[in-house]
Symmetry: C2
């Protein structure tokens, strides 16, 4: 029987095996990119044969597509939480912290996303121009409100969001470089706490000393 993504009816085994495959595919895709990964690799990581895997996902691209669809929701969750209710600086600090925690706890997801964007986002371009842009525009308005109220320094809200993405995801996407440069001593688990301390200071106070 066909097991397409549009078929809602799933047996227990289908549910389990599909999860197993997606987990394995996340591991493989995030490490080698889409074209650099083979169905055999994913099948082996999932502990099944290639034809068996293809019974659950008809095409390699279906796996990737399912993975990306799920990813985007969880990936944007921290930004969605950015809200108008609290103190602006506290809100932003919380957003930076949450994004950094995601880089620490879900580096494979970050790399999968980075891979897709690096290749020109051929599979998720509509989502970027639609859902993502809408969300960012909305949050940029919130931030603009804070600026008008004098709660934070006036600057470009879009580029502010970009800089938070860039600095936090850097610790997932460029992890090997970060660890190589920090060396064995400072490159251990403590690097994320060091990063958190640094980023908080950077975004709040910048580098210019208070005279």
């Amino acid at each position: 029987m066909s097991v397409g993504t549009e078929a809602p009816r799933r047996t227990r085994i289908q549910q389990e095996k599909r999860e197993l495959i997606l987990e394995a595919a996340l591991e493989v895709f995030s490490a080698h990119g889409f074209r650099g990964s083979t169905i055999d690799q994913i099948a082996e990581a999932a502990g099944m044969s290639k034809p068996n895997l293809l019974y659950y996902f008809r095409r390699k691209e279906d796996i990737h597509e399912t993975l990306m669809q799920r990813l985007l929701d969880t990936w944007l969750a921290p930004l969605r939480e950015l809200d108008d209710i609290g103190d602006p600086l506290t809100e932003l600090r919380g957003y930076i912290r949450r994004k950094l925690e995601m880089a620490r706890d879900f580096p494979r997801e970050s790399r999968l996303f980075a891979n897709e964007i690096l290749q020109g986002a051929p599979r998720i371009m509509p989502l970027l121009e639609g859902e993502l842009k809408t969300l960012v525009d909305e949050k940029a308005s919130v931030i603009k409100g804070w600026m008008r109220a004098g709660k934070i320094t006036r600057t470009d809200p879009w580029h502010l969001i970009f800089s938070i993405w860039a600095t936090t995801q850097h610790y997932a996407d460029f992890d090997v470089q970060v660890r190589a440069v920090l060396g064995p001593n400072r490159g251990g688990e403590g690097r994320f706490e060091d990063a958190a301390r640094f980023l908080e200071q950077l975004f709040l106070d910048g580098l210019k000393p208070k005279t």
Copy 2:
């Protein structure tokens, strides 16, 4: 005759054709990654046949290796220029500006590098732990001196360098996302000037308003 990378003797044609191939390979590799690129693609982009290309570079990996070796030097040039002679804040501002200009003018080089790091830097790991680490450690010392002298706020110099890399290279590596989010109006050529203004303010003053 063999034309390996260790052969210093090159005819005029060899010099020219090798450059042509490297330029084409940069275009292809940066867009599709190493495994996502084929020799045929590179050969076509260079305007020659596949066997002809393989006459100048014996293996696909030789092209990539030559490209990466050249890249690292030019890529680290801005950091090398960071010097102790000028005013610290001016020096840092200049470094950020130069890095952002490189993201604008050499996005393919940035993406090629990002691709390599994302895949775990399998081909340049020794360079990261050696040359790169040495350079960063050296510049971190310079920055530490500025902090001791009270010229800039005390913080972690390594993570400061990471944040400059992340924020500037973001505009090359995640270009499609930046343009998608900014939309047709603000996503044009002016986005780099907006970014430059924003980053200068972020790194100098942060977000906390001067009361």
